[in-house]
Symmetry: C2
Subunit: 482 residues, 2 copies
């Protein structure tokens, strides 16, 4: 029995029988892709939504030819979110570094498995090394280390699993047998993944206690202390505090030092969700913003956001890496054990994993710490510019003090009654998209709608921001005279 | 303030200012990559392990130039697992389809976010559609649907979380408040991710009850019934059974129909881990092997294995998709809600996710169901060939009847005392690697070492297998006369 060449040619032949064809296909795919990406600023930032019926994506019986596939790819490009455009400033989705795209291409092609050292002898060592270096960048001690995971939610989940197992001494994870009901504390503005974690790890979302915030969306430490006392009085067992460095909606930073004092006092695990804000560690000028992060028991951080590494790229770092292994590891008896490296699949929640570390490594090489320093500082410069424009306009209001490159604001012109404000801002979002092709998101914050700008794209300029505000003024003028 | 071109050129300029450079870089990277992959069969299957010290991967201050990065990539290729070689038959890591590599390249470049419809208007619909089609392929009813996740462990975790929340009626995940201690049942040969799940979801690994297997590594249904009774007597609360279609070490299939009867009788959730074996659904000739899978409440399946989609590519399918949403969903209030599509990030355990669905879609297009039918049948043909060679040799023994394309065997020559057998087989593994460049893995099975071959690579031929067995004979002869 032999397989036809038609089928074998759907693989890169390891017998060197189709190299030219493969090269040609990659060239064609790249060309079509760059028709889209190299002209991203000219394309719609937010495509018209087209709803497909089920049959559109029907799995085909017989193979499609290259032309058919290219035409399906064209539809993908035409209808996808255009996150490469500098006018896409609505979410935390950055234009990816070129080398992170190449990293994914290579990782996929060599298809190594980060489950074990045997299946990724080079890349396992790379992950051990880079996560350790990040831990030390954040000021964690020599005992620290970490693992990479496919997205920030997983990093938060693993951190709180380790916290649960360690503090409550239930290495095998049996919550049922605890004497007291376990609780964790986090800001009312923390990410929804903390609630999801509460559901997943068996403590229940009702035991994720939400702490009030001050006028700048930061945890109110007085309320934190009160809530801890309250839960103790109720007979519950506090075991962790989650502080956030860079909240999702407004990019604010909880008072890390004060919170770490409270955590120490009550012997609670301190997890710092620096998924967004951790990137400022690369800025000599701004890294002070997350002072106190070095006190954490665990830190989650996503290069996939402000470091412009393509999705997914996330890591969770532990102050006591060996302690993490002791309290978390599930052995895979079918895998060979080797050398000093515990197989990564046994100490992270994923098991099999692709080499996400590769694109991070390549991005770091191509930009260096110095390049990232400049990128981060440039986005702070844009933020300052943006904020100056807001301050100039009395009808615009910020949710809170801007601390990172996330600006959450809205119009509250005095000629509007309060029930009309949400609609006014929603219409402003649509107006800006239609008139200027700028996409801002429209999150809910304290029950109202706000406009949010995340200034990640290095191709965004002063001129872009000026033009955006000219249009905000036009919109406001039109409405003022109605 | 302006960013230097040196930095901006590390991105694909959306202002069309570096297209030629980008194309040239992709061409160079592809060329270097194909020097490795197109000649994979000639390269070492299992590279010599080189241990690096910490400083080797040190994050650089200033940017490295393209040549330096290429030379680091060369080291990566030289020292990575060569899973593209047809002689790499040790693990479930397939040579990836060409279009799955391209899919990862594109997914990374367009960097859409499967968290929400707003951030991936096309790809979210694609994921909804393909997972639904897979659910129906497996025989689940019209009410079914699923989500994709980054690896099989996550799919098993989500299935059992939904089982826990649904059967035990703890939608918010509080295990502490249950009246009885929850338990699940699974084969002693099920994957270690089931234990990991027990730890993660708060029921504890001691409540993952291991069921005995028969001589073919399949769940012994009598023991299953006894164990359920036993746990009920102990006052525990059984809520799920996990059956496996394709065990990790020997590729065996639990008796799905009988198990589903037992699950129904006791009102337990039936999760079928078809992560490996689900692929046979594409073979007209062999899909009967997993008859009974249509009875499952949930199914996990990895295209990243036998469908040769690059890592990671996994899905979890639910008989009652709406029920899953009701019992699992955690809303992300910062995301816009739209149309009929619940944001995927709210109904899977990851949140932000890259477009893994793209490479699956492209692979399906390029091969069609008919192409996959042929690929699966070809690997059954290779398996038959391989098994015939084993049967011819009285000194070789199988762990159990071979049901898929995983063959787990070892030498037990009668001139060896039993304590020497493990070493003999370990040496055989090394001998084959050294003499023939074939890499087989050496898993532990029932406390002994066995050789394992996973016949996934479509470039593996009859001649390869003949040559492998000639060398097994040579090894045996040499040792017989010692």
């Amino acid at each position: 029995m032999k397989l036809e060449d038609k089928i074998l040619n759907q693989f890169i032949s390891p017998k060197n029988s189709n190299r030219k064809q493969v090269e040609k296909l990659i060239t064609n795919v790249t060309s079509q892709l760059l028709d889209f990406l190299s002209n991203a600023e000219q394309k719609p930032t937010y495509p018209i939504f087209k709803q497909f019926d089920c049959s559109h994506f029907q799995i085909n019986e017989t193979p499609k030819n290259e032309n058919e596939i290219h035409s399906n790819l064209q539809e993908l490009y035409d209808l996808s979110m255009n996150s490469a455009s500098p006018k896409y400033i609505g979410h935390m989705d950055s234009i990816p570094t070129l080398w992170s795209v190449i990293g994914d291409y290579i990782a996929s092609a060599i298809n190594n498995n980060l489950l074990s050292l045997e299946m990724s002898p080079f890349l396992t060592q790379l992950e051990y090394s880079l996560t350790k270096q990040f831990a030390k960048l954040f000021g964690l001690p020599e005992t620290s280390g970490g693992v990479m995971l496919s997205g920030g939610t997983l990093s938060n989940v693993q951190a709180l699993l380790v916290a649960r197992n360690t503090v409550l001494k239930i290495k095998h994870g049996n919550v049922f047998t605890l004497k007291k009901e376990p609780v964790i504390f986090t800001s009312e503005h923390s990410h929804s993944s903390i609630l999801k974690t509460g559901m997943m790890i068996g403590i229940g979302i009702e035991n994720v206690i939400k702490i009030k915030t001050d006028k700048h969306s930061k945890i109110d430490c007085k309320d934190l202390s009160i809530q801890i006392q309250e839960q103790l009085k109720l007979g519950k067992q506090p075991f962790a505090i989650v502080a956030t460095a860079g909240t999702t909606v407004s990019g604010n930073i909880d008072p890390l030092k004060e919170i770490s004092e409270i955590a120490k006092k009550h012997k609670l695990w301190l997890h710092i969700d620096a998924i967004y804000g951790g990137a400022v560690i690369f800025s000599e000028k701004h890294k002070h913003l997350i002072d106190g992060i070095e006190q954490a028991n665990s830190i989650s951080f996503n290069p996939q956001k402000w470091l412009s590494v393509s999705k997914t790229s996330s890591m969770v770092l532990f102050r006591d890496f060996n302690g993490m292994k002791d309290n978390f590891r599930i052995s895979a008896p079918y895998m060979k054990e080797q050398n000093a490296y515990v197989n990564l699949g046994e100490i992270n929640i994923q098991g099999t994993k692709y080499a996400e570390v590769l694109k991070l490594w390549l991005s770091l090489q191509s930009l260096g710490k110095s390049g990232y320093n400049k990128l981060i500082d440039y986005s702070f410069y844009l933020t300052e510019t943006f904020n100056k424009e807001i301050t100039k306009r009395p009808f615009l209001k910020l949710t809170s003090k801007t601390e990172m490159n996330i600006i959450c604001f809205r119009g509250e012109p005095n000629y509007l009654t309060s029930e009309k404000i949400d609609k006014w801002n929603e219409n402003l979002q649509h107006y800006l998209l239609k008139q200027t092709n700028f996409f801002l998101s429209l999150p809910k914050y304290k029950n109202n709608l706000w406009l949010r700008a995340v200034l990640l794209n290095p191709f965004l300029t002063y001129e872009h921001i000026e033009s955006l505000f000219t249009h905000i003024d036009n919109y406001e003028k039109t409405h003022r005279n109605k």
